[in-house]
Symmetry: C2
Subunit: 391 residues, 2 copies
């Protein structure tokens, strides 16, 4: 397998962009990534596009990438439209990595985008719900079946999120959210750029169990783009970031001991990268909720099982701590435009490894991990995608 380099990285600000179309955001991200890479559109050999919701939001299914990229000069080469719920664009990145690592292509563009905002808010919810197995939902709501919220929560992993949240308690969860909002206040591309106090987080509307609105990721709009290459760009050798591991798995669905796919994927990623959690300098992970961030600390091996609380008490995952997590603000505060999230995590890590993150910079970062999950089949995640980057 060949080395794969990320030569270009760019993203729009995430947010509720009522006045921007998907195409408009895509064009900004694509132009930025090409410019950053020093690559012209005609040099790109294949494009992988991740998007989760355009079909249900705008009705534009089937050829989303071609439509969104129509004015970029990228049409002509293969355009592959990929969908994997919240992990859509990390899945696209996995395919892009394969294309370069295998020697199939030398210059690859990876795009993630999402326009979740819609005047008919029910549409945005319908699109988000489509990341779950709807036939199962139909079974639950079918004649004779119970409609209890607890059944739904068990089906869709919400139970484990709330159980997890209850384990940690609301004050601890609020601290995680305060951290991510503080980080986002240093990130001009974040959706929520206002630093918050724990009291503010705790005072926001309750969503489920101890989780409040400001402990959960918002619906966002945005686009993020990466340009991959088989060769380092000599003009910018100091900026070269390599992909040390790229792993995709789907949920197993029948493993009693937990989300098999996630554990197997993480093990495989560390093995491929020849690195372990102790080697990481910075992490972007899938904090759909503050409880999720804490559970994933343990899943990734950032601390022994059952000790996530200690990382918070020690401020280990804060900027300035031993291993900063979600310096961008994470899903909770940078925002969560589903199909753009995976690529945006990697954009942040590329910028961190280049040392260009200003006030939120993790000093001397050399090894980084991105953890992105998407969708539910039963109590298992439908997809998990892990990338390890190094410079």
């Amino acid at each position: 397998m060949r080395d794969v380099w990320i030569r270009g990285a760019a993203m729009t600000r995430f947010g509720k962009h009522v006045d921007r179309s998907a195409r408009d955001m895509v064009e900004e991200a694509v132009a930025g990534a090409l410019r950053d890479a020093g690559v012209e559109a005609p040099d790109v050999q294949v494009v992988y596009v991740g998007n989760a919701a355009a079909g249900l939001i705008s009705g534009q299914e089937s050829i989303r990438g071609q439509v969104a990229l129509r004015r970029t000069g990228l049409l002509g080469v293969p355009i592959v439209n990929v969908e994997n719920a919240d992990a859509s664009s990390s899945t696209a990145l996995h395919l892009g990595w394969q294309a370069v690592a295998s020697g199939m292509h030398d210059r690859v563009l990876v795009l993630g985008y999402e326009k979740l905002d819609h005047v008919d808010v029910a549409r945005s919810f319908r699109a988000a719900n489509a990341t779950m197995d709807l036939t199962e939902l139909a079974d639950v709501f079918g004649p004779g079946a119970g409609h209890e919220r607890s059944v739904l929560m068990d089906l869709y992993g919400a139970r484990s999120a709330v159980d997890g949240a209850e384990r940690f308690g609301r004050e601890l969860l609020a601290e995680v959210s305060v951290k991510n909002h503080y980080n986002a206040s240093l990130n001009p591309n974040a959706h929520r750029q206002q630093a918050l106090t724990a009291d503010q987080v705790l005072a926001s509307r309750v969503v489920a169990g101890p989780l409040t609105r400001l402990m959960c990721a918002p619906f966002s709009d945005g686009a993020a783009c990466l340009v991959l290459s088989a060769d380092r760009d000599r003009r910018a050798a100091a900026d070269a970031v390599g992909i040390a591991a790229s792993v995709l798995r789907s949920g197993h669905g029948d493993d009693e001991s937990g989300p098999f796919g996630v554990i197997a994927a993480i093990r495989e990623a560390y093995e491929l990268a020849g690195a372990g959690p102790e080697d990481l300098d910075v992490v972007e992970l899938h904090d759909a909720t503050a409880a999720g961030e804490l559970l994933i600390y343990e899943r990734l091996g950032l601390c022994p099982d059952g000790t996530a609380e200690e990382l918070v008490r020690e401020r280990a995952t804060w900027l300035g701590g031993r291993l900063p997590v979600n310096p961008s603000g994470g899903l909770i505060a940078r925002g969560h435009p589903m199909g753009a999230t995976g690529a945006a995590q990697v954009v942040e890590l590329v910028w961190q490894l280049r040392g260009r993150c200003g006030a939120r910079q993790v000093p001397s970062a050399r090894v980084a991990l991105a953890h992105n999950i998407g969708g539910w089949v039963g109590t298992d995640v439908a997809s998990v995608c892990i990338h390890v980057l190094s410079k």
Copy 2:
């Protein structure tokens, strides 16, 4: 690049399957392809799923493959959900071919499926329309813009189909449709299994210009599945079919001389396969209309430009002719469940190369070509995917 073999091929009957769910059809095709390949589900290392319309038909976006495959034992490995309009499952096959050819994976499952039937017929049409650039459609219908049918037809390639149809005349078009319906009458997996006379085709409802309903592909439901492998199955060496070329392109969008993507893709496919049109024994091509079949004869170089009529007069593309085209019945008569069509073309060709097609068998077929296109951006196809197979 390594050789890639198609070890397993299976499909459901195509048709209007009011009583069958997408999952039900998927399970039949997957079980059939695994059995045919002599491969167990746990041996599959990656799955590529092509589907075009599930999001708009059923609301199930984002994790379509995981949901459809949930009971097949295939979850756990990477599942990549791919969308490229009518070329969705040939795009999935292209990715599967890359995965094996590049040495990334040894055993790959490729699935195409579509459930287009819906009690709300408008949904089926909405899903089919999503293969076009809807922002452009919105522009046309915007304030001050003309709503003329001719504008729409120009935008979406319908003009070229109708112009083409007018060039050929209704009698010639009817003959193509008679051929494809006759072939489908010999195919137990076809949607329309009734042989027709030219009078019957001509007497059916007019759709546009000289095109009648029986000259156009119907909405169908169905699933088709392929198992790819890096090694020939020794138990069935006589059945081994190899992929000699796999090419994907997107429409160019600004080429004056015609659909650039198509021409470039075909040239590349012949080059990769080390074969030309003169080497082909059997072809499955994208006859969304009878006029399309004739235009594609010329595009593929099966005859010199401007002479497609002669192939019909000579019955060259009939069963028993020099180069049978669409022995399955093609999109017009085997049916056209969008996301399943590309895989189904290849299933038919695998069966042809194995010599197992009974009454519709092309004798001693050794080299075959599948031509699948999907969607429109302006007057260009959004995606084209060509596969050359050989035994």
